[in-house]
């Protein structure tokens, strides 16, 4: 007899999705002036969820103008204490509507409801709550006695954590006194549009937050707009480089949170069962659609076989399927394009001589899916060891000494995160001090907290989000 869990789907009835959405500009939804319409689909079923607008040049200009007006007339002059209360309201509204938003996120993004419910939503609310408290404490941010806000922030976010990335961008911007024009990713606009309704329920003054949907072109128009003072981008390194070029020579301040090829380093004295959990989490969390995913496993040669045995056994227990089933561990790949990219890179692993193993799970007929996959026999020269796959594909390499582990871990243009697994504290700290990465997790992986700064070294971007360090991205230092 086997313990087959019956389907446990989260109810879809908690969400109302409109047939079509306008742009949220100056406190209301408006039809695009010169924009177009695109459809957003459920990647698990390919069903169309809604039609959304794409903002054209005049729409972008209108949104930036609204943000500027709100900045000049209301938001920049409001005492931090009162501004903070709006941000607290948003935090509470996110908590109150968390189930609805979690379901909506899973529908639009394909991530398992367990993750949207237990990670994305609580963290998004926490980010607003924590930053709300900063609004009247900016004098303590280490930027002089009265640091100033920048003005209008143009924020472009990716599709992997749609609402959470919104929170990481919007919360610090509002708390520090900036106004916002935010563009969510074209494949995952729905929770950002629901957030517009939360701004309305919070009675946030019109224009403080504007949400314009669209694809890359809308994003380009937004970051290149003369009316913005600050650009914050999370996404691919390639687009990040274009943005850095485009803001060159302007007054615009810039923070970038880009790609990664992070090493998860397992020593022979690691707590093995928990290390295996960390490896699994590092590569399968959110289907591997995580910029800081632990996509390169560096395992000490003396325990490589044992770790791989345990890893394969554990990956076999993962449940892939309907993102709305509460027992699903691995949901859908976000889009056909992303699935094609993962498939292509995995094929390069085969072609370059690495050995592929995939968890034996059956894939649904419709939608976009990729099984958890491990490549062994990978070398630093392989594409799958150098390029960001952004999917549940792990490349395994071995090392002999801590020095070699550091060398290999750092041998990448990226530098977003790293994991170290060992029960020896001094070695963990030795490794941490040498790893060129913005975040080092020791005996854990993929931990995030509003009090903890997050961001990368080198081609993983610059600027931090979260913690006291994250405030600097939205404030002008008072250097009088």
């Amino acid at each position: 007899m086997t313990f087959e869990y019956a389907p446990a789907p989260e109810s879809r009835s908690v969400v109302d999705i409109d047939a079509s959405y306008g742009l949220f500009i100056d406190g209301q939804f408006v039809n695009p002036i010169d924009g177009d319409r695109i459809k957003t689909i459920n990647p698990a079923t390919e069903e169309v969820l809604a039609e959304v607008s794409t903002a054209g040049p005049q729409d972008v200009a209108a949104a930036v103008a609204a943000a500027r007006r709100a900045y000049d007339e209301v938001w920049s002059a409001m005492p931090g204490r009162e501004r903070g209360k709006y941000v607290f309201r948003i935090a509470r509204l996110l908590q109150e509507r968390s189930r609805e938003l979690a379901v909506l996120e899973s529908l639009d993004n394909g991530k398992p409801i367990r993750e949207s419910r237990d990670v994305d939503l609580p963290l998004a609310a926490a980010h607003f709550f924590s930053h709300a408290g900063w609004a009247d404490k900016l004098a303590y941010a280490g930027l002089g006695p009265s640091p100033r806000s920048l003005g209008v922030a143009a924020q472009v976010i990716p599709w992997n954590f749609p609402l959470l990335m919104l929170a990481w961008k919007v919360a610090p911007a509002l708390a520090t006194g900036n106004t916002v024009v935010l563009k969510p990713a074209e494949t995952t606009p729905l929770t950002a549009l629901a957030f517009a309704d939360i701004c309305r329920q919070a009675e946030l003054p019109p224009g403080v937050v504007n949400i314009i949907t669209g694809a890359g072109e809308t994003g380009r128009l937004l970051v290149e707009s003369d009316g913005v003072d600050k650009v914050a981008f999370t996404g691919s390194t390639e687009v990040g480089k274009q943005i850095q070029r485009s803001v060159a020579g302007t007054r615009k301040r810039l923070t970038l949170e880009l790609g990664g090829k992070s090493a998860n380093i397992v020593f022979d004295d690691a707590p093995l069962d928990e290390a295996v959990e960390g490896i699994v989490n590092g590569i399968t969390f959110n289907q591997g659609h995580v910029c800081c995913a632990g996509s390169r496993l560096l395992v000490q040669e003396s325990i490589a076989e044992e770790v791989l045995d345990r890893l394969r056994r554990r990956l076999t227990t993962l449940r892939l399927g309907d993102p709305l089933d509460k027992n699903t561990d691995i949901g859908a790949i976000n889009s056909a394009a992303q699935l094609a990219r993962i498939t292509e890179l995995a094929a390069s692993g085969d072609a370059e001589g690495a050995e592929r193993w995939s968890a034996p799970c059956s894939l649904p007929d419709r939608g976009f899916w990729f099984p958890p996959t491990v490549f062994t026999g990978v070398t630093q020269a392989h594409r799958i060891a150098r390029e960001e796959i952004f999917g549940p594909v792990l490349s395994v390499l071995t090392f002999r000494t801590p020095h070699e582990a550091v060398e290999k871990a750092n041998n990448t243009p990226y530098g977003l995160s790293a994991g170290v697994w060992s029960e020896k504290g001094s070695r963990i700290l030795w490794m941490a001090s040498r790893l060129r990465a913005g975040v080092v997790w020791a005996n854990t992986f993929n931990r995030f907290d509003p009090a903890s700064p997050f961001g990368g070294y080198r081609e993983s971007g610059f600027g931090r989000e979260g913690g006291i360090a994250g405030l600097a991205a939205y404030l002008q230092e008072d250097d009088r």
Binding site: M1, T2, F3, E4, Y5, A6, P7, A8, R114, D118, D268, D269, A270, P271, L272, D273, E274, E277, G278, I303, E306, T317, K326, N327, E423, N443, T444
Partner: protein
């Protein structure tokens, strides 16, 4: 991964040998283990799976009374319930065993016959503070009186003092005294405090011949917890891989609701596999859990919530 092959540990092992082996086991990261157990606790078990899990859980219960005020009458009543937990529904399965003090084994056996197992706590339960002679006699008398399962306690003092050989030898001696009876070794994890100790004590007990490793006496808080049970399940899984012998796990104390029981079954299923989802390899030591399982069962059969007056109090 370890300096000494676990197979090399034999009856003549010294504390130093055992220490070298046990301390060579991979450590347990407490935060990570708690996180894993908590994540598995979010599994949602519904409909047919839930009905199946509830009946399975009932069949895994060691229905227990271990009080100074126990009497033959109390034990007889509990035994009747063990055989037919829900008088209104004969399809409800019998429990796995009744668990009593040694002096009441005969009373229990007289009621249950061969229909359920009779487990006796022995070896100066719950503290284990007695000479080996007393513990062996305690064991032998319970077996003679008809117990086919013995729940012994380890000497936690000796374990914490690093006298692993003493713990090991006591278990092997009690195992010998058990004869055909199955031996469950109680680690009393609430006194061992760390998950590293839980892992080491689990291995020590299995190497010494335990048929089951059991979390707790129920007399110490905390008793069974999901992280502790997770670590013990990992130990039996790894022991089966290295030694080819399947050891059972008994979670005892503090499990009172069907919801909790199902969480433990999920823990078993996803840690060591469904091969362990049998009363031969997983048990619940409990007294009040059974009635909650029965209430849930009635809820699933009838479609409405039941009440405490619709299950029997023994």
């Amino acid at each position: 991964m370890t300096a000494i092959s676990p197979k090399a540990i034999g009856a003549a092992a010294s504390s130093a040998d055992l220490r070298a082996f046990l301390h060579g086991l991979p450590g347990v990261d407490e935060v990570g283990a708690a996180g894993r157990a908590a994540m598995l606790g979010t599994r949602s078990i519904k409909a047919a799976s839930k009905a199946w899990a509830i009946d399975l859980a009932i069949s895994m219960v060691d229905l227990t009374t271990l009080e100074g005020m126990d009497t033959p009458g109390k034990v007889r009543a509990m035994c009747a319930k063990a055989m037919r937990p829900d008088p209104s529904d004969p399809t409800a399965p019998a429990v796995a065993a009744v668990c009593v003090y040694g002096d009441l084994v005969a009373d229990a056996r007289a009621v249950v016959g061969d229909s359920v197992h009779v487990a006796a706590v022995a070896t100066a339960f719950p503290s284990g503070r007695a000479s080996l002679e007393v513990k062996l006699l305690d064991t032998a008398q319970a077996v003679d009186a008809g117990a086919d399962e013995i729940d012994m306690v380890i000497d936690r003092g000796a374990f914490l003092a690093g006298d692993y050989a003493r713990v090991f030898e006591e278990i092997t001696a009690v195992k010998a005294a058990c004869g055909p009876a199955h031996l469950k070794v109680i680690l009393e994890t609430g006194e061992l405090r760390t998950l590293d100790n839980v892992r080491r004590a689990s291995w020590l007990a299995m190497l010494a011949g335990a048929d089951f490793i059991k979390t707790s006496t129920g007399k110490v808080t905390p008793a069974a917890t999901p992280p502790v049970t997770l670590v013990m399940l990992e130990a039996v899984r790894d022991f089966a891989a290295s030694h080819g012998r399947r050891v059972g796990v008994k979670a005892a104390g503090g499990i009172r609701t069907s919801k909790d029981a199902i969480k433990y079954l999920v823990l078993v299923n996803e840690t060591v596999g469904d091969g362990w989802l049998t009363p031969d390899l997983f048990r619940f030591g409990a007294s009040t859990l059974l009635n909650d399982l029965l209430l849930q069962r009635q809820r699933m059969t009838t479609g409405h919530y039941s009440g405490p007056d619709y299950v029997t109090i023994d």
